[in-house]
Subunit: 186 residues, 2 copies
């Protein structure tokens, strides 16, 4: 490999995940992460505010995809159709990230503080998504329920996605989870 490394953020994330997984999240320092990536601590802080952000820096991108889908859906689309318009781009976003997502889930499952952060992330998405639905003229009660449903379907499908081996399966798994929900409540 050449000395010049364009994807510093990617290398730092990979090094961090490996260390979190091997020796525990709490026991891992930013110094170790930077050293394992062959970069400086200063470079680390150019990309991430702290070591936790290595695990959560993708959250805003995910949320934005859901918001873009809701904002961009045809005005005739119902709230669930507007939310599920995000399934294809969300599936594409994660397609390259299956090995990362799998290790990330393992690291989070091993640490209560990170589990809390993950729950807050999902809850923040619900609030943002409900807001975007209200902007479309969806009544408050229905907006909250549709946003909760979209985020839970994503969450359940994501759990199934990291437990299987096809990186491109996430969109299909979200559609299946939604269909299953439809059947469950029918």
């Amino acid at each position: 490999m050449s000395r010049w490394q364009p994807d510093a953020a990617g290398r730092l994330a990979k090094a961090a995940l490996t260390l979190f997984d091997e020796q525990g999240y709490a026991a891992t320092t930013v110094d170790e992460i930077a050293a394992a990536a062959g970069l400086t601590k200063r470079t680390f802080f150019r990309h991430f505010a702290n070591k936790r952000e290595v695990l959560f820096s993708g959250s805003s991108e995910l949320q934005q995809l859901f918001l873009d889908a809701v904002v961009g859906a045809p005005q005739t689309a119902g709230p669930i159709d507007a939310v599920s318009a995000a399934f294809a781009p969300v599936g594409q976003l994660f397609a390259r990230r299956l090995p990362f997502a799998r290790v990330r889930a393992r690291v989070i499952a091993a640490n209560p503080e990170l589990q809390e952060r993950e729950l807050i992330k999902l809850d923040t998405m619900v609030v943002a998504l409900a807001g975007a639905l209200r902007e479309r003229g969806v009544a408050d009660a229905e907006a909250v329920l549709a946003a909760e449903t979209g985020v839970r379907v994503f969450h359940v499908a994501f759990g199934r996605w990291i437990a299987q081996s096809d990186p491109d399966a996430l969109e299909r798994l979200m559609l299946e989870a939604l269909a299953q929900l439809r059947q469950l409540v029918a």
Copy 2:
């Protein structure tokens, strides 16, 4: 009032809620709560492990009602029917607690630490409920989805319940939220 006060826990909870609401959760001490209830700190700790538990001591009761409903539902009941069998007893449990629940929600909304705890409580319920559904022979994927659905329907309906004035409305609001979800995903 007589000096002998049978409902020490209730008085402590009421005093705590009032103080949390008036001067903030973080600023309130156990000493102040006990004094406001006309009881000792020692009595406080006989009923609650810490001040946070005043807000969350009802969680296990709520969870138990959901679990009892799932365990007690006829074997022919589908997963959502088994979960929604809890709506009537849950509605009854909360019927006496509307003023408490309303202040509690305000206190929690004002404090990020308490919001986290609330999210964890709901997540713990999902995990427990999914386990009870699996015990009934429900497949894992479906169990998780049904548990998520039941807890979110409860959560959404609870938010509507504290925003209205009929203490007995919770069961109806849960049934309505479930019906609304059914229509949303149809």
